[in-house]
């Protein structure tokens, strides 16, 4: 009987411990838009490297249609607050802060960059022209089939 009680207590303790361990990890908000072709795990580890390279391309050489841009990050990964508007980085619910708070790593990006999605009008002036990209792709596929 004593053994049974101990076993029950141990099992109970384990289950409580495991459920608590699970809740310690941050719950990463779902993003809109397509998945990263490189995979989420890759981006979780390497996002700063990917962004750093593109920032230098844009800043120094004027290449604007880079693969990664912070404005696109915050657009896909926007988290809406109670007022149905995307929250800024001041909110603990902001996509970047969810993990960064957990890891105790300060984000400096948003001292200069906007942490909410840009206005659509403004954004379309920055990002690459979708139709142009599609044309190039179609031309390329045609070239392959010939």
């Amino acid at each position: 009987m004593k053994r049974l009680i101990i076993a029950t207590l141990v099992l109970f303790g384990l289950s409580v411990g495991m459920s608590q361990a699970g809740s310690v990890y941050p719950e990463i908000p779902k993003a809109t838009g397509e998945e990263h072709p490189e995979g989420n795990e890759y981006w979780r580890v390497n996002h700063m490297e990917l962004l750093r390279h593109d920032r230098d391309l844009t800043m120094r050489e004027g290449v604007r249609d880079t693969d990664a841009s912070l404005a696109e990050c915050v657009t896909c990964h926007a988290v809406n607050g109670p007022d149905a508007k995307p929250v800024t980085v001041k909110s603990e619910e902001h996509f970047c802060r969810v993990c960064h708070d957990y890891a105790a790593v300060k984000v400096d990006c948003f001292q200069c960059h906007n942490s909410v999605p840009p206005d659509l009008g403004e954004a379309s002036l920055m990002f690459k022209d979708e139709s142009e990209t599609l044309d190039v792709l179609l031309a390329y596929i045609e070239g392959l089939s010939q």
Partner: protein
């Protein structure tokens, strides 16, 4: 210290500069860089694990070394009561001048008076985009740099806010941001603790507008006191105007070869 796009100014001479730049690019060339360096790329996933990439969507590096962007400002056409260019710049980039001595001023209206004759002149002054910029010479981190197409910029990623460039600039063209900034424009990220100044609307040039916010605003008022264009292109409006009429650069004694020139001062 080699930074892509940063043209070395003096010191080691042309041959040495070209070599160091080539070395840097070779050493750091990863697969990802290679795919992106030549031209843009379009990617489509046909099936899991099968990716189709198309090279060259036509938009390559915008900072073209054959170009030198410049401005020609006719002070004779610039009324003293007009500040449309200043307002346009403020709206385009999101800086605000509330009249505090430390507020940012990317462009300002300056009044000149000839003491002998009493004749007054009003003209806008901004970063003059020197060919040999003193701000780039003094920057300890390489944050202040000149793009291949002659635009002098601050890379806020590496700016430490030391303000040497503000001291070095003969035109007081740069400002320091003293307060936290929120809700920045996507095309003009700017923030506390960094130096900033006129960037010749580099985002507009990169997307092919071929003009700046101040020049557009000046044309909209009908004064047409400003001409923007490529100084290296003999067929551009600005080159033709410069060839036809007398113009000066501010503080020509410093021999900085400015990208901004003035008429009728």
């Amino acid at each position: 210290m080699n930074i892509p796009g940063l043209k070395p100014t003096g010191g080691c001479g042309g041959g040495c500069a070209g070599k160091s730049d080539a070395n840097m690019k070779g050493a750091d060339m990863h697969r990802r860089d290679f795919l992106k360096s030549g031209a843009a790329m379009a990617t489509v996933t046909l099936a899991p694990g099968v990716t189709l990439m198309a090279m060259g969507s036509g938009v390559a590096a915008q900072a073209n070394p054959d170009t030198r962007w410049g401005l020609l400002i006719d002070a004779g056409k610039c009324p003293s009561d007009c500040s449309a260019c200043v307002t346009a710049c403020s709206n385009e980039h999101g800086w605000e001048d509330h009249g505090e001595p430390t507020d940012p001023q990317w462009i300002r209206k300056v009044t000149l008076k000839d003491r002998a004759t009493g004749r007054e002149n009003s003209l806008p002054v901004m970063c003059q985009h020197c060919e040999n910029p003193p701000c780039v010479d003094v920057c300890p981190t390489g944050a202040s740099f000149k793009r291949e197409d002659g635009i002098v910029l601050v890379d806020r990623h590496t700016c430490i806010g030391c303000r040497y460039c503000m001291m070095a600039c003969p035109f007081k063209a740069r400002s320091f941001v003293h307060h936290p900034v929120e809700n920045q424009k996507v095309s003009t990220p700017r923030g506390n603790g960094t130096v900033e100044g006129c960037n010749m609307c580099v985002h507009k040039l990169d997307r092919g507008d071929g003009t700046t916010a101040c020049v557009e605003a000046c044309a909209a008022t009908g004064n047409n006191a400003m001409i923007f264009g490529d100084l290296n292109d003999p067929e551009s409006d600005i080159s033709k105007a410069l060839a036809s009429y007398p113009s000066i650069e501010l503080r020509s004694d410093l021999r900085l070869n400015l990208g901004v020139r003035y008429q009728n001062i």
